[in-house]
Structure formats: structure tokens, C-alpha cells
Amino acid sequence: MEAATVPARPAVRAEGVSKTYGARRALQGVTFEAAPGERVAITGPNGAGKTTLLQILAGSLRPSGGSVSLGGGVIGWVPQQPALYSKLSVAENLRLFARLERVGDVPATVGRMLELTGLGERAREEVGRLSGGNRQRLNIAIGLLGDPAVLLLDEPSSSLDPRQRERLWAFVGGLAADGTAVVYSTHNVAEAERYADRLLVLADGELLFSGTPAELEREVHGSAAGSDFEGAFVRFLHERGH
């Protein structure tokens, strides 16, 4: 496996992180770093441990071994299923989590997030009445409330239509440009290729690859050129027994 090149001071670092559930090993000694402004995609087959790794990075799950360290600031967490109170309005959800995040100016932050999500006109509407896409936008906005140095997103585009997906990745790109380290999981290899600076490939809890999409392609195409990125990715997994 090729070691990734990152700046000296990472925004977040995982060192030998492992997680076991009884006899099952969900993660096995995963080590990686994400630099400020870097977009890191975690991909791999179902059950690879992507969500588990993100939950451990987010602090909502305790690792069985290893450690996670932050370069500074806070971590923003966007779970796959929107973590929102459906009986509260859009604004009430934002206010609640802004207070819990101990944001300095709650009304201003809520206003900024409403503008960011484009949900200003629906601020008083109960979240339970929103479409899946709008809920996800609010879900992401809540992850950004604390102005995090690292934003973790678990399958952020899974419930979005193509247009919303484009907006999401444009937004994520903007955050990264402003210095936020963005780590996200995805099944969509094409998204990983297009919107990630670096790729982590997990399978059965093991980190198989850490590098740029181009590096992954080179590693596979060294033996068989001409395939697209998704084909290269599948071949990479096959070659490693997955």
C-alpha cells in the first residue's frame, strides 16, 4: 500500500483504529490522515467498515483499539440518515443544535444556515414534511453549525437527485477551498473519483489503499490498461481477494 502525502499538521489523524463486535472485526488497524482543505473519500464494498470508521472519527462510537486525534477545532458530523427532530421546524432544529454546539451567535448562525441550505422560506415548516433532499440539506447544515475544521459525511448524496448532488459537491468543494477537511463515505466510485483529492479503499475492515484516484488507476492499469475508473476499482478489489 502506498502512503499518502499530506501536510505536516493534519486536521484529523486516525492511528491503528480497530473495532470489534464480539468475534466480528469491523475495523482492523486503520491509519490515515486528512489535511486541512483536503477532500478524502472512503469507499469500498458493503460492510467494509466505512460508516464505522466515520462514527469513530465523529466520536459517536468508541474504538476497540487505536486513537483519533484532531489538529484543532471541532468535527462536524453528518450521518447517513438525517438526524433531525421531525416534529420540530427547520429553524427549531437549527437553533437546538446551534445551542448544543455552543455557537456564539445562535440567531445569526441559524440565519446563515437557512440561507446556505435555501430553506429560508420553509424555516417554520416541520421537518417531517420536508422531502428527503431537503432533509439531507438540513442534516448537512447541522453538521456545519460549529464551523468545523473537519466535516465528516456518511453517504451524503445517497438520497439526492443529480441536480442536488451537483449542488452538494459544489458546496463541499467550497468548504474545502476555505480550509475545511472533508471526509466522506460513498458507494459511488465516480463521485469519489470526481470530488476527492484522496481515496481510502476499505474492505472487510481493512484499509487496502490510500492515495489519489489517479494513483489507484495506475496501480491497476499497470497490468491492464484501457478500463474506466469504476472498472479499475472493481479489478483492484478482485486482485486483493474481495
Binding site: S60, I75, W77, P79, A83, Y85, S86, L100, E101
Partner: protein
């Protein structure tokens, strides 16, 4: 249908609750019905000196101790020697009540039946009443038994009175105190003699002997009829009962019913709210986001308990205020009511979050909370003696593991007096235990 069965099979908690509920209720009811009611344990102190338990009634001697056997058919007696020992048995809870027969009972009973004066004989009954239902059960058992004894004594008196009246009417031999056995002429024979004598008797006739007999009969008849009046008056209840509650509640049944209604409402509100609120955090996927540094798991539990308890407290305090006004309860004790309600609400709230943490789904949490509530309340209200002794002990242990019984005891003590600290300590322990259980359940909550 197969699909539904498969879904059910994959909801083990729901299935366990539904099956377990039916099994437990069947076992409890079946065991209770098959075992039948047990006899309440009653301490019995007979202070009448040995050999002095007989009374003379007419020409007969009756052993009053024999009437105690009636009592022992309905209770499980714990025989003690002194009044203090009997009361101690009640205070310790070993006996539900105590029956003390004072030393002067025989003498007073003899006086009542023989016009000796000195007031009616009185036996003493002491109760251990954890709640008015239990007190009523013991009271009714002892009172029914004493009524049987009174009826038996009355029967003896009635038979004796009837014999007197028969002699007065028809004549014959009768044994009287002091005088001994005498031959009574009887009203019919006397009338015949008087009729015969009066037919043609001169003023100085020698039939003075017969007239003398008539005169003697008239005097005895008057005496005996006088004697029959107090005897007949004593027939209804020759033995009186003095009742004393020395441990437990002195609440009226209506006050107790109000207490049960208040605690029952509190149970439903606190359990359903706390269980639902905690389970909702998981259903909304918010739990994972909250506990990653925003709120600790323990604080989350404390907040749910606090809010559920506050809602239940406010509701039941209002309920109690209304009921207290209607039932004329002593509002001077209201600070104690609030203490009892407050700690009860916390204990129910803690139990609710434990249910919510274990079930992890709002619907399951609500169902479990509801299904648990009814038997918990029912078990706490079963009086001793309503079921067999061993089963009752088991029921007490089970009902003691949930807040309903100690809450009821605490509110009863707060309203009517009695030991408030013990149920409050019980509630605090339950609140802590359920809080720990809820905290442990959050390990598999995310």
C-alpha cells in the same frame, strides 16, 4: 401470514413481552385460584387465668375459651402470652393483627349475663394495615369471627331464657343462683288453682296454703321476668370489640382510592413519556449526533427522567388538589404530599427511560410501558390473605421491584400519617437502579 410471522420472530422483545405477559398473568391468576386464600396471621393473647374461663348461665357452666376456637378456623393464630408480645408481633409485621382477650372478660361476661354489672366484656383488636384494603380485610375477618362468637353466646343465652319462660308458663324444676333447685308451679297450673279456689272460698277458709303457692309463684314469676329483660338485651352482642390501628395506614377507603388513582395516573404519564422520549432519540437518529460530545449519555437520561417526572408531578399534584378538596383531606400536610409525589414521579420516570432504552422504539416502548403498568398496579393492590401466603410473599417481592407500591405507601403516609421515610428510601433506590439500567441499555442504543 408467513411474512408477518417472520417479522414477529425478528422482534424478540415484543414477542417476549406478549408471551411473557400472558404466561405471568396466567400463572399468577391460576396459582391464586388453585391455592385459595390463605388465613391471615393473627397474634392471639388470652389473658384470662387458667381455670377461670367458665361462666355460669342459669344452671349451666359454659367454657368461654371454647369460643376462641371459632376464631382459629378463620385465622392462622400466633399464640403469645402478653398484650405487649401481641402488639410487638403486629408492629414487626409478623402478624396482620392481634386479638387480646383481657383477664376480666369472663368476669364481665358473667356480670352481663347475670346482672352483675361492671360493663360489657371487651376484647382488644390491633391492626397492621399497610393500606386500607388490607386493613379492611383483616377487620372484616376478625369482626366476622367475633360476630360468630357473639352469636354462639347469644344462642346459649336464648336457650336459657326460653327455658325460664317455659317454666314460668308451664311450671317445673329450675336451678337458681343461691336459692338452688326449686319447683315452679307455672302460670297455667296457678290459674287453675286460683280458679278453683276462687269459686266459693270464704274469707277465712283453710285453703291458705294453695293461695300461698300462688303468691310465691307470682313473686318468682315477676323476678324471673325482670331477669329476662337484661339477658335478652345482651343477646345481640354480649362481647364488645375495641379496635386500634398500631401500624400502617389510617386512611379511609375513599382517600385510598384517590391515592391509587393519582399514583396510577402518574405511572402512565411518567412511564409513557420517559420511555417514548428516549426511544424517540434513536428513532430520529439524533442519539448518535447528541452523544458525540454535545450531551453525555447520563445527562440525556437525567433530562428525560426530569421532564417526564415534572409533567407527571404537575398533573398528579393538580389531581390530588382537586381530590383533596372533594374528600376534605388535611391540606396542612400538602408539603409532604408534594415530596411523595415528586420522588414517585422521578422513580417512574427512571423506570420509563429504562423501558425506552431497552426497547429502542417508540411503539415498542409505549406497548411495554402500558403492558407492564396494569399488572404492576394490580399486584400492589392485592391484600394479604387474598392469595396463599407463599404467593403473597412472591407478589410483594415483585411489586417491590417497581415504583407503584412504594409510591402508594409514600402518598398514603403523606396524606394520612405513618412512616414516610421508608417508602421514600425505597423509591430513591428504585430510581437509582432503573437509572443505571437505562444507562447500561444505551450501550446498544446507537
Amino acid at each position: 401470514m408467513l411474512k408477518d410471522l417472520q417479522i414477529l420472530r425478528r422482534s424478540p422483545l415484543l414477542v417476549a413481552v406478549l408471551v411473557g405477559y400472558s404466561v405471568v398473568v396466567s400463572l399468577v391468576v391460576g396459582t391464586a385460584l388453585s391455592a385459595g386464600p390463605g388465613k391471615p396471621k393473627v397474634a392471639f393473647a388470652n389473658l384470662v387465668p387458667a381455670g377461670q374461663s367458665e361462666i355460669a348461665l342459669g344452671g349451666q357452666r359454659i367454657d368461654a375459651a371454647g369460643y376462641a376456637n371459632l376464631l382459629f378456623q378463620k385465622v392462622d393464630p400466633i399464640r403469645v402470652r402478653t398484650r405487649a408480645q401481641a402488639i410487638a408481633k403486629v408492629k414487626s409485621g409478623e402478624a396482620l393483627g392481634a386479638l387480646v382477650v383481657p383477664a376480666d372478660v369472663t368476669q364481665k361476661l358473667q356480670g352481663t349475663l347475670g346482672l352483675g354489672g361492671g360493663g360489657p366484656p371487651t376484647v382488644e383488636v390491633y391492626y397492621n394495615a399497610e393500606n386500607p384494603l388490607k386493613r379492611q380485610y383483616v377487620q372484616s375477618t376478625i369482626n366476622a369471627t367475633l360476630a360468630d362468637a357473639n352469636q354462639a353466646i347469644s344462642g346459649e343465652v336464648l336457650r336459657e331464657a326460653a327455658r325460664y319462660l317455659n317454666v314460668i308458663v308451664a311450671g317445673g324444676k329450675i336451678a337458681l343462683p343461691i336459692v338452688g333447685a326449686v319447683d315452679i308451679l307455672g302460670l297455667r297450673r296457678a290459674q287453675a288453682i286460683i280458679d278453683a279456689a276462687s269459686a266459693g272460698l270464704p274469707a277465712n277458709a283453710p285453703e291458705r296454703v294453695a293461695l300461698g303457692q300462688v303468691s310465691r309463684f307470682a313473686r318468682l314469676a315477676a323476678d324471673n321476668l325482670d331477669l329476662s329483660k337484661p339477658i335478652l338485651a345482651s343477646i345481640s352482642s354480649p362481647v364488645r370489640v375495641r379496635q386500634t390501628v398500631i401500624k400502617g395506614s389510617s386512611s379511609s377507603i375513599s382517600a385510598f382510592a384517590a391515592e391509587a388513582a393519582v399514583i396510577g395516573s402518574m405511572m402512565f404519564v411518567a412511564l409513557l413519556l420517559a420511555a417514548g422520549m428516549l426511544a424517540l432519540e434513536r428513532e430520529e437518529n439524533a442519539f448518535g449526533r447528541l452523544v458525540r460530545g454535545l450531551v453525555s449519555r447520563s445527562a440525556l437520561i437525567a433530562q428525560k427522567v426530569g421532564l417526564a417526572a415534572l409533567c407527571a408531578f404537575v398533573l398528579t399534584a393538580a389531581m390530588l388538589a382537586i381530590l383533596a378538596a372533594l374528600l376534605h383531606l388535611d391540606f396542612a400536610r400538602s408539603p409532604l404530599w408534594l415530596v411523595a409525589l415528586g420522588l414517585s414521579a422521578v422513580a417512574f420516570g427512571a423506570m420509563g427511560v429504562a423501558i425506552g432504552g431497552i426497547t429502542r422504539e417508540v411503539r415498542s416502548a409505549s406497548l411495554v410501558a402500558f403492558v407492564l403498568s396494569l399488572p404492576i398496579a394490580a399486584l400492589a393492590l392485592i391484600p394479604p390473605g387474598a392469595v396463599a401466603g407463599g404467593l403473597y410473599d412472591l407478589i410483594r417481592v415483585i411489586s417491590g421491584a417497581f415504583p407503584f407500591r412504594p409510591s402508594l405507601e409514600a402518598l398514603d403516609a403523606a396524606i394520612s400519617g405513618g412512616d414516610l421515610l421508608a417508602p421514600l428510601a425505597h423509591l430513591a433506590a428504585l430510581a437509582l437502579a432503573f437509572g443505571v439500567l437505562a444507562r447500561l441499555s444505551l450501550r446498544r442504543f446507537a
